[in-house]
């Protein structure tokens, strides 16, 4: 294989990523700053400190050092031929953000924001979390840098992601279950905003995705942009050309923006985001914002929101806590409306099938969130055929989901009738049990 001219290690792309061509804080019509006045000075300070830091060699160097020595960057890519047999024979390549320290892409953003917290002279960080990955990452960075840490998490999510609650507490964070509203990610964000308004003098809100008031969508994207920067080079090295499609799951949309952004100018590369179709878009039990939502304001940004005719937020549903959110990052709304990216729903059943398949064909347990992108790759591969090269952002690993998956596939011994199982692993030779017939 011939070496590419741009083989030098890619520096952190923060300085390159400024959106100078866009109005401040807007992606087309989307974005903005819809928050109480009390928070405006903190957002202005954050933007100023971040803009300065992003061109400060000391900050960029420190973050790069942490990514090399702590996160484990660059993350590798893995081609998955046995899984690809289920994708119409297309070549499927995974970007392995699941191998990052703490198990997902979330650490990219959190280390950046934690360093900014120190620069702002603040001593306490708060964060919302859905699946728990962002909470674990924030608790980790807080431990590393000696910051006090409080994580807000919907009660429903603390129950379905109990292992991550324990992880956060082991890391020294305080986890506060939120009992308001739908008791999921949306309500955790509300509670984090309430804390921030009251404690903004000492506290930085480490928002975990590419939404919220400006500058969060742009800043969080830039901290994750390294995913696409690395992956583009790696795919070029492996395949000798750019991928035909880049796939990512989209909850708030940070892993997707992270891998999409470097490909925006590559017109031949399709960018496809997969949102949670839940029980099916026609059932109302889903988180398919682009399939059913309309533009509105939630959590500080003008973007697509699942809402009723009075502007009240509609509760979302998904087997995946990390995608169970009724809104989405404003830059995704812009990419949809501008036609640069496409978004499709993936149902719980489709995602769990992909979860099972990757586990059994490649020995990789994906996060259920990331399994939505894998299911999308299966569909796209069948549409595009054997010549296609599909890059999938494997944004997180499935350790946190073992309990959910085990229940889904009926792998936990219980007295319940097996008819109650929602899924069944295909071709499982041990399904009948050995020497245990009763």
């Amino acid at each position: 294989m011939t070496a590419k001219p741009s083989q030098t290690p890619t520096p952190l792309p923060l300085a390159l990523a400024g959106a100078a061509d866009l109005p401040r804080g807007r992606f087309g019509a989307f974005g903005g700053r819809y928050v109480p006045e009390a928070l405006i000075p903190a957002l202005e300070q954050l933007e100023e400190v971040w803009r300065k830091a992003s061109i400060d060699p000391e900050f960029v160097g420190e973050l790069e050092r942490l990514h090399k020595t702590y996160t484990g960057r660059p993350s590798i890519i893995t081609e998955v031929p046995r899984f690809a047999e289920h994708c119409g024979g297309a070549r499927v390549i995974l970007k392995r953000e699941d191998l990052n320290h703490t198990g997902s892409h979330k650490i990219n953003n959190v280390l950046g924001q934690a360093l900014l917290t120190k620069r702002m002279g603040k001593t306490r960080v708060i964060a919302e979390t859905g699946a728990g990955q962002h909470g674990v990452a924030t608790a980790t960075a807080a431990a590393l840098l000696g910051l006090e840490c409080v994580i807000y998490m919907g009660r429903k999510d603390t129950e379905r992601q109990a292992l991550n609650v324990a992880r956060m507490r082991l890391l020294g964070a305080t986890v506060v279950p939120v009992d308001h509203g739908s008791k999921t990610l949306k309500d955790a964000v509300n509670e984090a905003f309430r804390d921030w308004v009251a404690n903004v003098g000492t506290t930085h809100y480490v928002l975990g995705t590419v939404t919220g008031p400006h500058p969060f969508p742009e800043m969080v994207r830039d901290f994750h942009r390294i995913i696409g920067v690395e992956a583009r080079e790696q795919v070029l090295d492996l395949v000798g050309r750019l991928p035909d499609v880049v796939c990512a799951c989209v909850g708030g949309g940070s892993n997707a923006m992270g891998i999409f952004h470097r490909f925006l100018d590559d017109a031949s590369v399709r960018l496809v985001g997969f949102e949670a179709g839940g029980a099916g878009v026609d059932t109302g039990e889903h988180a398919a914002r682009f399939a059913t939502g309309i533009p509105g304001v939630l959590h500080g940004a003008y973007t697509y929101v699942m809402q009723d005719t009075d502007g009240q937020t509609i509760d979302s549903h998904s087997v995946s806590a990390g995608l169970d959110y009724p809104s989405v990052g404003p830059e995704h709304a812009f990419l949809l409306e501008s036609g640069r990216a496409e978004y499709r729903p993936i149902t719980d059943v489709e995602a769990m099938e992909a979860f099972s398949l990757l586990s059994r064909t490649e020995g990789i347990l994906p996060a259920i969130e990331s399994a939505h992108a894998l299911a999308g790759a299966m569909k796209l591969g069948r549409e595009l055929g054997r010549e296609a090269v599909i890059l999938v952002n494997l944004s997180g690993r499935g350790d946190k989901d073992v309990h959910t998956a085990a229940e889904w596939f009926g792998l936990i011994d219980s007295d319940d009738d097996a008819d109650g199982r929602r899924g069944r692993l295909p071709d499982d030779p041990g399904a009948e049990g050995v020497g245990e017939q009763q």
Binding site: A38, F193, R194, V197, V297, G300, Q312, T313
Partner: protein
Amino acid sequence: MSVAPVLEKCRAEGRAALIGYLPVGFPTVEGSIAAMRVLVDSGVDIIEIGVPYSDPVMDGPVIQDAAVRALAVGVRLSDIFTAAEAVAGAGAGALVMTYWNPVLRYGVERFATDLAAAGGAGLITPDLIPDEAGDWIAAADRHDLDKVFLVAPSSTPERLEAVTAQCRGFVYATAVMGVTGARASVGEAAGALVSRTREHTDLPVCVGLGVSDGDQAAEVGRFADGVIVGSALVRCLTEAATPAEGLTALGVLARDLAAGVGRGRS
């Protein structure tokens, strides 16, 4: 119709205005309108008609709870106009307090049209800063409605200048950094914020967040043009065993607060 004449009248009487918040739809739409009438009859000058919203990030537990219960019994955005008409008819200023998305979904121009037709005075917008409010500012100006934006202890002089320049009716000064809810002490930050705000505007400056009884109302009324009370009033309704008991408790508290602003500068 603007609340400016109401504030003018209170100033002429040598006292701060008393501004009371209640959400529409708790315990029912009719019940909430009856409660607003009790406030007016007990000496409240301006009613803040609250729009229950699914994601109220500026509100503490008391108002959140009332909003959730109002939405559960089916309050609709259109009920706001019924309440505004009733409050205006009872002779008080009728300001609507709402998070932005319900207005956006209803249509900014349509909302302004319907609010003005109902006799509403304008909007208080806790999560809409003037920088993002171009459509609302234009609609309010067309329909002669008040635009009440918030300032906070964290506001810089630049922000105070920019925000107050876009206000009409009064400026809402949040006394403390935090969400709505009764507090033992309103704190010195409120007085300092009112003074700083007055350096940028001649509009009345009203103080909210934390006031819960007549003594606090008197204290705040000494330096502010208006005293805003929310959670303490709402709690009269949420903690009552029956709606009738709620109205009774509400009347008692409102009269205590009205007496407080009355003696504030004596």
